[in-house]
């Protein structure tokens, strides 16, 4: 089925792409295309980012910088992510659909839509990823998620700090290809815990209250972990949809935050 694309632009540079984006308010950027058909049947104008060499993974002493057009498969295959944060970034990516969709889906495309069902956003939140745009000042993923309207700009890079940390990621689904009923990401740093919940069904958020509850307790006891789970479930304000009711989501969040904390404090 041919998509109705009004005008198709294959810019030769980021400048050209950015200018076109500003000029035509209805224009959309083409990332990997994996979620394209879910969102748009017709595009009045499309700006293709595929030829701008925005992919690639670079490692420095303190960070990993991933080009926004890097496919999820490329990230999954990188040896960098098998160990980093217990491999939770790789695990979250691996849980997205199947290998062939991951061969075209890009990191940028998976972020910009701020989809509720995203498995990556909770992990990026606990990692405190940073987003580099062409013109717009750098944003933390948290800032980006809270913006009313995302910047009309081109995401060029995603920057992940190389935390030495224990990580946990769990996606609750019915079948392996299903969207998450909820997903939970936890990172245990020397400085404290970071907890994020996604697919609530709303988009992912940090569970600040739960994180605060755990602050100053490098090794929380069972009671504290259970409390943290309950607090996270409450503060997420989960909703109901055809996949799950709000009450059930609360139970899932409570249970998996608790289980996650147990796992990251095990070693």
């Amino acid at each position: 089925m041919t998509m109705n694309i009004g005008t198709y632009l294959k810019p030769a540079s980021l400048d050209e792409a950015y200018a076109a984006l500003q000029l035509e308010p209805k224009a959309k950027l083409l990332g990997g295309g994996a979620w394209l058909k879910l969102v748009d049947a017709d595009l009045p104008a499309a700006i293709d980012l595929a030829f701008l060499r925005l992919s690639g993974i670079k490692e420095t002493v303190e960070e990993v910088r991933i080009g926004a057009m890097t496919t999820l498969s490329e990230i999954e295959a990188s040896p960098l992510f098998s160990g980093l944060y217990n491999g939770i970034f790789r695990q979250a990516i691996h849980s997205v659909m199947g290998p062939s969709v991951r061969n075209i889906a890009t990191l940028g495309g998976s972020i910009m839509g701020r989809f509720g069902f995203s498995d990556l956003l909770p992990v990026l939140l606990v990692l405190d990823a940073r987003l580099k745009f062409f013109k717009h000042p750098e944003l933390s993923i948290g800032e980006f998620m809270e913006m009313k309207t995302p910047p009309r700009d081109i995401l060029t890079q995603v920057i992940l700090p190389k935390h030495k940390a224990q990580g946990y990621f769990h996606k609750v689904t019915r079948t392996a290809l299903d969207f998450a009923l909820v997903n939970v990401a936890i990172l245990r740093l020397d400085s404290g815990y970071r907890i994020a919940v996604g697919s609530r069904p709303g988009a992912a958020m940090l569970c600040q209250k739960a994180m605060n509850h755990l602050a100053f307790r490098p090794l929380p006891d069972e009671k504290t972990m259970v409390e943290a789970g309950a607090i996270a479930a409450e503060e997420c304000r989960p909703g109901s949809n055809q996949r799950a009711s709000a009450d059930y989501r609360k139970q899932l969040i409570e249970t998996y935050v608790e289980r996650g904390l147990r796992e990251v404090t095990r070693s």
Partner: protein
Amino acid sequence: MKITMILNGNPKTFDVACGEMLLDTLRNHGLLSVRRGCESTSCGICTVLLDGKPVPSCSVLSVRADGRTVTTVEGIREEAEKLSRHFGEEGADQCGFCNPSLALAVYALKQTNPKATPQEIETWLVGNLCRCSGYQSQHAAIQAYLKEKS
């Protein structure tokens, strides 16, 4: 727009609309093995190999295939035949609608990870749905195919 790809080993030029998907370009060209199964990139029936990697051709703009290698089952005939022999052995062949796309994904697995464990086979193919076979017989056939020396 004119695009040129290496299709099943031969250069081929197509004149495509900018919103045209690779699935339709290939199928309209006469490659009947390339099929549509859904509209939500979720069934795997349209899988082709792009530079050797399985992709959902229903969601790849043909313009993105310019300058790249595209493989359909017509381009891996001998390997597909081998796989079909194993399918016959295990009773894994039923309606066949998912078979060509599956053959391509399995062929890609053989190039990437020929010693794949059963779990790795299932994980690699999770996006290739099948409603007829119950999957188990397919996996037995695929394991036997992977073990076969090239």
